[in-house]
């Protein structure tokens, strides 16, 4: 019997159903605002699921995942702009407004960016890794600001939300369902990776890299692959969020966003399957509830976050579902 695990599984199922049921009910009641709020939760959660592979499983505290989140967003924005103006992309390739193509481009772009960034950053550990990933993200942020072709500091609007075959993405509920489906897909992928041989090696690299090397597996390659996969998932989430807002700006690349993504994971529970989902729900609800009382909601968010870090280690899922099982 594994009581702690089954309790966590119950909590996970409840969270998944809540996130699905609330927008369905809100949509039935004509409250599309809450549908959009739920879509935001699903997409922030998906981005954090990506980061959770590096941070939760691999113990790689990337403080630069906003770079991939934003790159994904810009992939969607740039494709939409080129298609809108009927301009070809590089090498005469046609731009597409079909989401699967955009997601593929976003994932590939993030993979291509994450490979060199990871290769340099993973040569270091600890604080160095945190600061170097931060610095690389800032590099991309400043590039986006100083490069005026795609809006520079002002950002890039997406005039018409990109399309998905067979789904009308313009209606809030169907777009939510699409994003929810992607989140579930991301969670399935996370679980598959975690329980695979690769996931075992990645978690072993976090727990004891020396022992892993001793059994003949090089931690560097494992971590690099994890970093790249993690970046690609976060990138797809970015593309979806850009389409939700129909706008992408350098703020998606800013270090505050990197911090937020880490916060989501810690609020929910690090390394847990549904940690990012719980974290994103809490975060967006805080933002919404505090934001309607006071303009200064970030002050209270800071205090709450400080309280969680100092006193409630393990996050929300740690509180509800008990400590994580090891082994």
């Amino acid at each position: 019997m594994r009581p702690a695990l089954s309790r966590e599984a119950t909590v996970n199922a409840v969270l998944a159903l809540l996130l699905l049921a609330i927008p369905l009910a809100a949509s039935a009641a004509g409250q599309t605002f809450y549908v959009t709020l739920a879509t935001r939760i699903a997409l922030l959660a998906l981005a954090a699921v990506g980061l959770n592979i590096a941070l939760g499983l691999g113990g790689l505290v990337s403080f630069g995942h906003a770079a991939f989140f934003g790159l994904g967003g810009y992939a969607a924005g740039i494709m939409a702009t080129h298609a809108f103006n009927s301009e070809p992309l590089l090498f005469g390739l046609e731009a597409s407004t079909s989401m699967p193509v955009i997601w593929l481009v976003a994932a590939l772009a993030c993979g291509v960016a994450a490979l060199p960034i990871g290769a340099v950053s993973l040569r270091t550990t600890g604080v160095y890794f945190i600061m170097i990933t931060l610095a690389f993200a800032q590099m991309i942020y400043y590039f986006a600001i100083s490069w005026p072709a795609y809006g520079g500091e002002d950002g890039l609007p997406i005039y018409v939300r990109n399309s998905f075959p067979g789904i009308n993405t313009a209606t809030p509920l169907s777009y939510f369902l699409l994003c929810y489906g992607m989140l579930i897909l991301g969670l399935v992928l996370f679980r598959f990776l975690r329980d695979s041989r690769f996931g075992a090696a990645l978690q072993a690299a976090r727990q004891n890299a020396t022992r892993l090397s001793a059994v003949g597996i090089a931690p560097f390659q494992i971590r690099l692959v994890a970093f790249v996969i993690s970046a690609m998932i976060t990138g797809v989430a970015g593309a979806l969020l850009a389409d939700l807002n129909r706008f992408v700006s350098p703020s998606m690349l800013s270090w505050h966003m990197s911090g937020e993504l880490i916060v989501l994971i810690i609020l929910g529970g690090k390394g847990r399957l549904f940690g990012p989902v719980a974290g994103a729900m809490l975060y967006v609800l805080f933002e919404y509830a505090l934001g309607s009382y006071t303009e200064r909601w970030q002050l209270f968010l800071g205090l709450i976050l400080l309280g969680v870090v100092l006193f409630a280690r393990g996050g929300l899922l740690g509180l509800i579902a008990g400590r994580e099982r090891h082994g």
Binding site: L55, V61, F63, V120, R123, T124, G126, V127, Y128, I130, M131, I132, L134, A135, F136, Q138, M139, Y142, F143, I145, S146, W147, P148, W255, G259, I262, V263, I266, K270, R296, Q298, L299, L301, G302, L303, L305, L306, V309, L310, R313
Partner: protein, 306 residues
């Protein structure tokens, strides 16, 4: 391009480097002695600038404002250390990042609450207004020269303090073996508070000095904080010498890159393109330099702990 312009830009780079050193020295000291990564260091820089602007406006004296900035930032640092930071020394870096990220949110919103969203302005003191002639023609702002002077004085003072005084001896001892100096009967928690307040004071001084060049506003510490991180990563975390070297390197490379790259590209590209590509490349230059240095020396140029 004239020599005078080149010298002016070099001095600007040096001035930026000196400011970065004031930030980076505190960060690296705090990391070296307590093993703590402090994202809220930029908030202390902001506290210094706001304190200076407020006190200078109330008393009419920049100098009293400058003293206030040191005191306010050091005090804020000591309070934060006692209330929050102290609980983080035994935690992993992830917890430290999050808790100090939370502190940034608290400091930024708190400051906005107290002072409003509009920037404050701080005038250059009359004594330091005006310019000095440069060799080869041209002039240079006296105030910026004074900032470079302050930086040199602080660097020398810090070196003397760490190398020659009892407090410095304790700091060095704390860097090499924490348990040992506690066992020798030194009050380690007071030492930590003092080191944190010292770093905070330097950050506050930097904020006040820069406040007279730019506007004093919420969020002003963040770009500087990230540059200071680049500095200490290049220099080797925990090394003051590395912080000095890295700060000057980053300051000069960043300033000269913005100045020279667009001009250098003129040989290859049409003018409008050259300015565009040059500007974009220049804004990435220090990060590229950092990546190159780390590719060869993953622990920075002057790694303190091997």
């Amino acid at each position: 391009m004239s020599t005078a312009l080149l010298i002016e830009q070099l001095l600007n780079g040096l001035q930026l480097g000196v400011m970065l050193f004031l930030m980076a020295a505190g960060l690296t000291l705090i990391f070296g002695v307590m093993g703590l990564i402090n994202l809220a260091h930029g908030s202390l820089y902001m506290v210094g600038a706001f304190a200076c602007a407020t006190v200078a406006a109330a008393t009419g004296s920049f100098w009293i404002g400058l003293a206030a900035s040191l005191a306010a930032a050091a005090l804020a640092g000591a309070i934060v250390e006692i209330l929050v930071i102290r609980r983080l020394y035994e935690r992993d870096h992830l917890d430290q990042v999050l808790a100090t990220f939370a502190l940034i949110l608290i400091f930024s919103e708190g400051t906005r609450w107290l002072f409003g969203s509009f920037p404050l302005y701080l005038d250059i003191p009359p004594l330091l207004q005006g310019a000095v002639p440069l060799p080869g023609g041209g002039q240079y702002q006296l105030y910026r020269l004074a900032i470079i002077g302050v930086g040199v004085v602080v660097a020398v003072g810090l070196y003397l303090m760490i190398a020659r005084t009892r407090l410095g001896m304790r700091i060095r001892a704390g860097e090499s073996d924490r348990e040992m100096i506690a066992a020798l009967g030194i009050d380690i928690s007071t030492l930590y508070t003092v080191v944190f307040a010292l770093g905070a004071g330097m950050a506050g001084l930097a904020g006040a000095l820069v406040g007279a060049l730019q506007s004093v506003q919420v969020g002003m510490g963040e770009p500087v904080l990230i540059l200071a991180f680049v500095v200490i990563v290049i220099g080797g975390i925990g090394s003051i010498k590395g912080a000095l070297f890295g700060a000057i390197l980053v300051g000069v490379v960043d300033t000269m890159g913005r100045f020279l790259l667009p001009q250098a590209l003129l040989f290859m590209l049409p003018p409008s393109q050259a300015a565009l590509v040059g500007g974009a490349l220049a804004s990435m230059l220090i990060y590229i330099v950092m990546a190159l240095i780390l590719a060869f020396r993953p622990r920075g140029l002057f790694a303190a702990h091997s």
